[in-house]
Amino acid sequence: MKKYIFALLFLLPLTLFANLSVAVTYPYIGALTKAIGADKVDTVVLAKGNWDPHFIVPRPSLIAKVRDADALIMNGGQLEIGWLPPLIERASNPKIATTAKTFLDLSRHVELLQKPTSVDRSGGDVHPEGNPHFHLDPNNILILAGTIKEFLISIDSQNSAVYEKNYAQFSDMWNKKLNTWKSKMADKNALKVVQYHNVMAYFNHAYGLTSIATIEPLPGIPPSSKHTMELIELIKKESPCCILHDVYHDTKTAEFISEKSGIKVVIMPHDVGALDTIEDLVSLFDYLTSAIK
């Protein structure tokens, strides 16, 4: 008996000092979790930033990554519906069950745009809860950082002071950046744009850009020649500034449209790691607010 108590005494400090292991779906959530959690949290990012966030491959190696996680943070709004459920199901880890208090769905904490009034699959791959790419409004980043702070405190109250301090630092820095980006984008207000998929909805919303059409005929459905020809006519009529294009789809159709209509294609990274130069959240929005010339 004594032996066991000794062993327990030895092991106890280890568990006390062990970091919280938090699995997150996308790199931007990882960046926020690192900013708030700093050295108290080990962050495991599941998806790569340069891949289509709708089509992450549910590799078995990812099951091993979430198997021992203490918590899971996801984007939500059905962005992960094509790949996260089988990982959660097969990881046999009650801590990452969607009903666990160590599971966080960020979409529940921000207001989603473009919530469809009715959904039908003949309208393409529509997200019934609204557009899930909400982190691309830099104002939402602060809300998300606050949500993650509260979440970390709720599961690791011992370090609440650390999380509060890191959050305060982050929000000071971010508020200054918000002003810079706002003034940079001031002259872009009411500018019309075309996109491949409506990824930049929240960025456009934040800075008053209007997205008039997408290269996809329907959400999630690859370009068709009929739709492309119609789009070229629309561009000639409406004269948008440019085509905002993600990093993961082929730019072939966009370049064809560009050639026929004379408007340029602008690559818009959607997450940390989407391009080699996008190393953190600040460089992501620095890039995005400079991209449209």
């Binding site: 590799r59 078995p60 099951i63 091993a64 990881a91 690859p222």
Partner: protein, 377 residues
């Protein structure tokens, strides 16, 4: 009759749940995820349906002369309409039901609970379910890369695969890579090698065990698995009901796949499996010992969100008359609808005692509606 009742009762249950919506005792929010998958095909082959039924595949050992579960007839086929339901039962259990409807009736393909709150990365499943033996056995037909299952699966594990009432234990090892260990005990009489057509005794089960590993090298995922099944083989001839084998059988499986992703939409997957069965006879006057191995190896290339192509080669290592080669191409209009054209050249058959190569073209359409869940890797 029973089958019709089952269908009616499942539909009634969903309709009554849906009917109450809006009232003070509204339970409509608790409707499980429901989906319907339909698979239909047009088949053209150089052998008549009757002749195909009379022909014997090289590895045949029992009742399934045509080796076919789907695409059986020359001309039009409704392969199945599969109704699937899934929901959490409570904080401890999930429940899945998959009802396989065909022109012959309704069958409970799977109905099982899964635990969701066990510690130490453990999971228990119980009910009737597809065994996790090998790489393909647990997969449903609509996720197959080909319109048909490999011959070695059909002949060793039966056209339905290992699918029986039982219990499954799975454990994820705390390794830096993915490692899963599983054990299953199932009611004997699965069919295929493990048929239990006569001399039935209580208490003997079909046992299955497997170890699966996976790790990544850059954008490629490697999967390596070994599987083992052991059970009674008391096999009768389907037509004459004469005993043709009595004993015990072991099936060993080894699988390897390397799947490399070029981007979010395009990949190449090389997948191979080798199965071996050792049938040990209790009575050589009924049937002798039989040792046999078979394999398939396949290459799948997904070009983009719409197009996919596949090539498969398969053969048996003993008692083989020849190999089977299959090529196909499929086009998806979305995640929920797929058109597939498949051609195969099959030299593994004997018809009326003579070798007969079978040419087969299948045009297959598969649709899914409702709350269709994501597929695992």
């Amino acid at each position: 009759m029973q089958k019709k009742l089952l269908l009616l009762s499942t539909l009634c249950a969903t309709l009554t749940l849906a009917g109450e919506s809006g009232g003070s005792f509204d339970q409509s929010k608790f409707i499980p995820d429901i989906s319907l998958i339909m698979d239909t095909s047009f088949v053209s082959r150089n052998v008549s349906n009757t002749d195909l039924e009379k022909s014997a595949p090289t590895s045949n050992y029992g009742e399934y002369g045509t080796f076919k579960e789907f695409n059986t007839n020359n001309g039009f086929n409704l392969n199945y309409a599969e109704l699937a339901m899934h929901s959490n039962v409570d904080q401890a259990f999930e429940l899945d039901g998959i009802f396989h409807h065909s022109t012959e009736g309704v069958e409970i393909e799977e109905a099982y609970f899964t635990t969701k709150a066990l510690p130490y990365s453990l999971k228990v499943k119980g009910g009737k379910f597809k065994s996790d033996f090998g790489r393909l056995n647990s997969q449903h037909a609509h996720v197959w890369d080909f319109a048909d299952a490999p011959l070695v699966y059909n002949s060793f594990l039966s056209p339905e695969g290992i699918n029986a009432p039982g219990v499954q234990f799975q454990w994820l090892a705390p390794t830096p890579w993915y490692m899963k260990l599983g054990f299953e005990a199932m009611q004997k009489g699965n069919g295929g090698t493990f048929a239990n057509d006569f001399d039935k005794k209580d208490g003997e089960a079909l046992y299955v065990g497997y170890l699966k590993n996976s790790f990544d090298i850059k954008d490629a995922s490697l999967l390596l698995g070994v599987s083992y099944a052991n059970g009674v083989s008391n096999i009768e001839d389907a037509e004459s009901a004469a005993a043709i084998y009595k004993g015990n059988s072991e099936v060993y499986g080894a699988d390897l796949s390397i799947k490399n992703y070029f981007n979010s939409y395009s990949f190449i997957n090389w997948q191979s499996e080798l199965l071996r069965r050792d049938m040990i006879s209790d009575d050589v006057t009924i049937g002798e010992d039989k040792k046999q191995s078979g394999y398939y190896t396949q290459l799948i290339y997904q070009m983009d969100e719409n197009w996919k192509a596949g090539l498969r080669y398969e053969d048996f290592l003993q008692d083989s008359y020849g190999a089977k080669t299959t090529v196909n191409a499929s086009y998806k209009t979305s995640e929920f609808a797929q058109l597939r054209l498949q051609y195969s050249y099959d030299e593994t058959f004997k018809m009326y005692g003579n070798k007969k190569a079978i040419d087969e073209i299948i045009l297959q359409l598969t649709f899914a509606i409702g709350a269709h869940g994501a597929h695992s890797f």
